[in-house]
């Protein structure tokens, strides 16, 4: 048996596995004793098998791969690029509340809780000529009271009071029943719901059901000037 035949027939492996016998084993051994490469191969095989005998019985030590965390759609929220600015904004908002908003609210609350005499702005005598335009100085973060005279003529189921800004835009509306309209109405107006300048209060009557014309009827138009005290 020559070296080429040994390689082709995997004779070393056959020898190690005890598959060679008789003449083939003798032939291989003749080659083995004169070929240092095959001798080394056989010795390597014997060493491997001897060591494998003990090692193959040892449970395989395989590092458990760390489970890849599945990043859900909310993962962007925990990203430092988002979390950092968000926390900074939260801190800013908190500071604004503590140092600006809360003192202002406390001040306003104190004003509300302090007993005071109300000087309502009286809006009456609609249509009277030569009347001067009444004026009120309203606190910026407070309110003022308007004493409103609704011309309670009959035939209306309710009255609509609308406040218009100096520019003509509607600021707010309130509906008044005929019962409420019998006396002067006291309307508390938050300053924030008005605009500085010449405001207009329009009072309209809503005709009762069954009347021929269901359209609102203008009853009075009061103009007053608001000056906001800062």
């Amino acid at each position: 048996m020559n070296h080429q035949e040994v390689l082709q027939e995997l004779a070393v492996e056959r020898y190690l596995l005890g598959e060679l016998s008789g003449a083939s084993r003798d032939s291989f051994e003749e080659h083995l004793f004169e070929c240092s490469e095959c001798a080394m191969d056989v010795k390597m095989g014997v060493t491997f098998i001897n060591a494998a005998r003990t090692e193959v019985n040892v449970p395989r030590r395989v590092a458990v791969p760390r489970a890849e965390r599945v990043r859900g759609w909310t993962s962007w929220f925990t990203s430092p690029w988002v979390l950092g600015p968000t926390l900074a904004m939260c801190l800013l908002a908190l500071c604004f509340q503590i140092f600006i908003l809360q003192p202002r609210l406390r001040q306003e609350l104190a004003q509300v809780q302090t007993p005071s005499v109300l000087n309502p702005l009286v809006l009456a005598n609609a249509g009277a000529r030569g009347d001067s335009v009444p004026e009120i100085v309203a606190p910026e973060h407070g309110s003022f009271v308007i004493s409103l005279d609704v011309p309670a003529t009959g035939g209306f189921s309710s009255y609509l009071c609308s406040l218009y800004a100096p520019g003509g835009s509607l600021l707010w509306q309130i509906t008044v029943s005929p019962e409420q309209a019998r006396d002067a109405l006291l309307v508390n107006v938050p300053t924030s719901k008005t605009k500085e300048g010449l405001n207009t209060f329009l009072i309209q009557g809503l005709p009762a059901a069954g009347s021929a014309n269901g359209r609102l009827v203008d009853l009075a138009r009061y103009r007053f000037r608001v000056t906001i005290q800062k």
Binding site: L17, R25, F33, V46, T47, F48, A51
Partner: protein
Amino acid sequence: MNFVTFDASYVSKLRIGDAPTEQHFIQYFSELILLKLRSRLHSQELIEDLRQETFSRTLSLIRSEGGLRHAERLGPLVNSICNNVLMEHYRSSNRVEALEDKTAQGLVETRPNALATVISDDTRKLVRHVLNGLNERDRRLLQAVFLEERDKDEVCTELGVDRDYLRVLLHRAKASFRVMYFKQVDAKKSGWVFG
């Protein structure tokens, strides 16, 4: 484990009784003789006796008048003398059949012996590495064949492979081990510690 070239100088040193050369000679051929004898004999003591007898005769012949004329024939000479020693043993024990017809189940010694004990921790690590690279079936195959020493045909059938697969598996495992072994040797030579 190194490639060895037996030349005139080597034989000459053996002839004059150079201790390191003689030690190398005995170590190199001991492993081969043990493999050869184990495939034919069961008795550990007898194997050892025949091994020593083989070396005794070989060294006597080398140191005799005329000695060994062709140094490159040193290996075949050792094999030939070992065969003669074996034959004489068969004749003396009237065991003509010997174990010739038996397969070499005991080729690799399972009992503790000199060869087995020289396996270093480094070598075990290398083998462990090779084994860890195998799939579960291949590991099971080697375990059944070499550790449990089960019938190879039976194991192959059980695991759905043939004998060729077993040979190739051993070939690949051995080749991987060999590559890593020499890397380790090179690393140690250059001051690295492998593994």
